[in-house]
């Protein structure tokens, strides 16, 4: 194990970007929860972010190869904990996702993402050959599919779907036959309608419907999308100012400190603010990708790319939802949305990226 690493090797640009995004998030949480019963959320978020940096430090310290070595142990633990949430988990918003007490509870599925990243990296880095064999592909899909289905029946479709880009980018990078791709597409084409009618719950179907035509159900699922678009649109170029957005302050926006935080942000900071915030996310993604490019080995590259794909997917789905270009799936915007598990899990992953970076010159 390499013992000494310069503090200068640390990915300071990434840390600055993360700090900037988190600061915008805390500011927006403060603005969105003023005069509500969530008014304390902003400093709780700040505390979680501090905890997140500790997580980032921990994620950096332990050699990721050691973590990869334990990937299957983590996987087993993740499956076990997910199973446990069905028994002892707390129910909130009609779904069993949390484990712990009312004061401190963790959303297990957030950490399962990290495990899936490690699992995919470990599995794919050990394979040989230019392309993925069908047998390996199915095996990996099965490994990822198990926790995915468990999360899906919590039910938390949004989080379950975040496993897909991790798997997808891994398979893409590992190389796959186009015949497999076609086969998967056909399978999805067949499975999608079945899934829509059999697997999806009524409210999830409603979300799909409201995504396709929000005005059809303006007071139900479509309400969130319509209110979000109104909030974003009324922000115009410069925004209405912090704590001045009527959509946010009047609580017409649903969960404006969590899933729809970017909508509140867009209302109060306008297009200019949106460009700045999205620019920060873009730079962060590019920084992660750059770390993937300089990774010392395949596994490191898979870790970084898995995390990049996960982050990109989150941004695409969450921000896309805010402007009505993606269905309402209820996944948070990493680093901005209020929520401890999400913050800590995200910082752990960024710690892993940094981890990979610090070991690029090893050996």
């Amino acid at each position: 194990m390499p013992a000494h690493r310069s503090i200068r090797d640390f990915d300071w640009l990434m840390v600055i970007l993360v700090c900037a995004i988190c600061a915008l998030g805390v500011l927006q949480i403060f603005s969105a929860t003023r005069d509500t019963r969530f008014a304390e959320a902003w400093w709780k978020q700040a505390v979680w972010i501090l905890g997140g940096f500790i997580a980032l430090w921990i994620g950096t310290l332990i050699d990721y190869h050691s973590l990869l070595g334990q990937a299957y142990v983590f996987y087993g633990l993740a499956i076990g904990t997910l199973a446990a949430t069905f028994v002892i988990g707390m129910t909130a918003f009609g779904s069993r996702r949390w484990i712990g007490t009312a004061a401190l509870h963790l959303q297990v599925s957030e950490f399962v993402k990290l495990v899936v990243v490690l699992l995919v990296a470990r599995y794919l880095s050990e394979l040989k050959g230019e392309q993925l064999e069908l047998r390996d592909l199915l095996k990996l899909a099965g490994l990822v599919g198990l926790p995915m289905i468990m999360v899906m029946i919590q039910p938390d479709l949004g989080t379950a779907l975040t496993f897909v880009p991790i798997l997808g980018v891994g398979v893409f990078l590992a190389g796959f036959r186009w015949q497999h791709a076609v086969a998967i597409l056909v399978l999805v084409a067949v499975a999608a309608p079945i899934g829509y009618w059999v697997v999806l719950k009524d409210y999830q179907r409603a979300r799909v419907v409201s995504f396709l035509d929000p005005n059809q159900d303006p007071k139900g699922s479509g309400y969130q999308v319509i209110q979000s678009k109104i909030a974003v649109g009324s922000g115009a170029l410069w925004g209405r100012g912090v704590t001045k957005g009527t959509q946010t302050q009047g609580r017409f926006l649903p969960v404006s400190q969590k899933d729809f935080i970017f909508s509140a942000f867009a209302e109060e900071h306008g297009f200019v603010g949106v460009i700045v915030a999205l620019g920060l996310y873009f730079l962060l993604l590019m920084q992660i990708v750059q770390n993937a490019q300089t990774a010392p080995d395949k596994a490191g590259m898979f870790i970084c790319m898995g995390i990049a794909a996960l982050l990109l997917f989150h941004v695409l789905v969450n921000v896309g939802m805010v402007v009505g270009r993606m269905p309402v799936t209820g996944i948070p915007l990493p680093l901005m949305s209020s929520g401890g598990s999400n913050i800590v899990a995200m910082f752990l992953m960024l710690g892993l990226v940094n981890n990979v970076r610090l070991r690029r010159f090893v050996n």
Binding site: K229, S234, A236, G250, F252, F271, M305, G320
Partner: protein
């Protein structure tokens, strides 16, 4: 290169080989970077669409979401009696409005169900407001006097997700005296009707305005009605106000002081308890109405609001016509109360002189027709004729006069045209003359008709107010002031009749005799007060109708009149009463006596020579909000 590495192989060598491989995916990573750029462009175009291309649409909708217009209703002015005591007050209540900015027609049914409203009429009401082209911000009132249960329903349903159009507005609801006290004088309010809005008189009002519908409320609506304000507030998605954007305060209506004396009014109300008829008390020296009662009465509180209950229909359909103000609208034959006027007319025209007398054997024959007197009075002169109300005497007076001369003096005292009192819908009554007969019946006047006119039958009809005013004018020597309920408002100058005061004195002496010299009105006698008066019993069905074969129904007994004033010299008050189906004026006399007694009792109690309108502080009359429920001279 042979790649054959097992998991148990050394990490270093594995790393070495993998590391060589690390660049293999460079192109694919580049592809991922392009994908990232594409995703961000896709997202940014979404924001571009909403925030740059047409933000106005969304700003407009954000405004619709969050801004509500709430009417601030101006309280109507209170109505006070002459001593400043409150007759008509307001009480706080809550009204429910539908704000039109976010009104959804499909919400009406659950709202109607939740508040026990009739769905059909609610829809009709909303449509009416919409088609009327009222400004979009004017909310629609749909229910008044919300109960706590209804308030709870509104509170739990006014959030943005349910019925954001629900709006509770603080309303000053009209509070009238119980049991219909002075109901006909003060009138009542109601929501302006479709028909009224189409008429020029109400052109300035908006759909949903509450206006005076009758009585003082209508006559002085412009003063009593304030100017509604409006508040634009920003609300949150639960319908709670966040802050006020702008606030146009309501200007409260002005209080209105009447000439009515509540003490006198209350006594007058009591005297007519369970009777049908009217009482009017005037100060003949000014025309101030001191009391005005009409019975049966109604309770204005039953329909004081915007939305009338079924009680309204019951009132309109009631055969006793409780809504009718008999004091100014009952047009009845004056009967014998016409005799003082007849006597004055006879003396003035010279048809009779001081020595004129006749013999009453219980009637007389004119033009081949026998006219009965109600008694046998023997030899009757001017004074006895009036004191004992001898019909035969007045038949002869009438026979000696021309109908147009009778009409001249009847009109002089104020019959046949409106007195001009400040109340809506005053009736004129009828004074028959040659022209009148030609105009209405296209016939010539027959001299024989004078006979019944002379005793107040025939076509002559008067209202109780006209009678009080007419006799009051004679009592003060032939001067008639316009009766009024609000002092110092658009008064016509007093009319002075060209009469010989000597003749007036003879009439007054006769009326004194009616009460004090064993005449028909002894029941009106008051110890210590020189009361003058005249009874009257008038057939409900005119002679003409009886001649035409009209059958007199059992309950159409004669109407009883009494008109009296006091004191004989320098009279201060004149009271006229119509007691419908009271059969004889003698039975009406105690009504007038009670009112006169109340007047003089109060005067004695206060020790004031003359009652005057209480001088209220001017700010109280301008825009007061609180007036003590009872105050003023009565308690001093």
């Amino acid at each position: 290169m042979k790649l054959h590495l097992g998991r148990e192989d050394g990490k270093a060598s594995a790393n070495q080989l993998l590391r060589d491989d690390a660049k293999f995916a460079a192109q694919k990573i580049a592809f991922f970077q392009y994908l990232t750029v594409a995703v961000f462009l896709f997202l940014i175009t979404g924001f571009w669409d909403l925030q740059i291309r047409n933000p106005e649409v969304y700003q407009e909708r954000a405004l619709e979401n969050s801004v509500k217009s709430i009417p601030v209703l101006a309280p109507r002015g209170k109505i006070l009696d002459r001593d400043g005591r409150v007759i008509v007050d307001n009480h706080d209540s809550f009204g429910l409005y539908l704000s039109r900015e976010n009104l959804k027609m499909e919400h009406l049914r659950p709202i109607a169900e939740g508040l026990n409203l009739d769905y059909e009429s609610l829809v009709a009401r909303v449509r009416r407001f919409q088609t009327r082209g009222a400004p979009q911000y004017e909310p629609i009132p749909i229910k008044e006097e919300l109960t706590p249960g209804e308030l709870a329903f509104v509170d739990s349903h006014k959030d943005a997700n349910t019925f954001p159009e629900l709006e509770v507005v603080h309303v000053q609801h009209r509070l009238y005296p119980r049991d219909g006290l002075a109901a006909h004088v003060v009138g009542y309010v109601g929501e302006v009707s479709e028909a009224e809005l189409n008429s020029p008189e109400f052109a300035n009002f908006h759909q949903g305005d509450v206006i005076g519908k009758d009585g003082i409320e209508r006559q002085y609506n412009d003063q009593l009605m304030g100017v509604d304000g409006q508040r634009r507030v920003e609300v949150d998605s639960f319908g709670n106000e966040r802050h006020v954007l702008d606030d146009k305060e309501a200007i409260p209506g002005k209080n209105l002081q009447l000439t009515i004396d509540l003490d006198l009014q209350a006594v007058a109300e009591l005297t007519l308890e369970n009777r049908r008829g009217a009482v009017v008390a005037l100060d003949p020296r000014t025309g101030e109405v001191l009391a005005m009662v009409s019975r049966p009465a109604f309770d204005p509180n039953l329909f004081a609001g915007r939305i009338r209950s079924k009680d309204w229909k019951d009132l309109v359909d009631n055969p006793a016509h409780p809504l009718m103000n008999r004091a100014i609208q009952a047009q009845q034959a004056p009967g014998s109360t016409f005799k003082p006027i007849m006597l004055l007319a006879g003396l003035e025209t010279g048809a009779i002189d001081d020595n004129f007398h006749i013999t009453c054997p219980g009637g007389a024959t004119f033009y081949g027709h026998f006219y009965k007197c109600w008694g046998r009075h023997g030899t009757v002169g001017l004074h006895e004729g009036l004191v004992h109300s001898c019909d035969t005497f007045f038949y002869n007076v009438g026979n000696r006069m021309d109908i147009d001369d009778i009409a001249h003096y009847a009109e002089m005292v104020g019959y046949g045209h409106k007195t001009g009192i400040d109340l809506p819908h005053e009736a004129e009554g009828i004074v028959p003359s040659r022209r009148w007969k030609i105009r209405t019946q296209h016939e010539k006047w027959f001299a024989g008709e004078n006979i019944s006119v002379a005793i107040g039958q025939g076509a002559t009809t008067v209202t109780p107010l006209q009678m009080a005013s007419a006799i009051g004018g004679i009592a003060i020597g032939g001067m008639w002031f316009q009766p009024h309920l609000v002092p110092e408002v658009h008064l016509l100058p007093a009319r002075r009749g060209e009469v010989n005061l000597e003749n007036v004195r003879k009439v007054i002496d006769g009326m004194y005799g009616v009460v004090n010299e064993g005449g028909t009105g002894v029941r009106a006698k008051l110890p210590g007060i020189d009361v003058c008066g005249k009874t009257g019993s008038a057939q409900l069905v005119s002679n003409g109708a009886i001649k035409a074969g009209f059958k007199v129904a059992a309950d159409m007994k004669d109407n009883a009149w009494f008109v009296g004033f006091a004191p004989r010299d320098n009279p201060e008050i004149v009271v006229a009463t119509l007691f419908e189906n009271g059969e004889h004026g003698q039975l009406a006399a105690p009504i007038v006596r009670d009112v006169l007694k109340a007047y003089f009792d109060k005067k004695a109690r206060l020790g004031q020579p003359q009652p005057q309108l209480a001088r209220l502080p001017s700010d109280l009359l301008q825009a007061p909000r609180r007036v003590p429920a009872t105050s003023g001279a009565a308690n001093q």
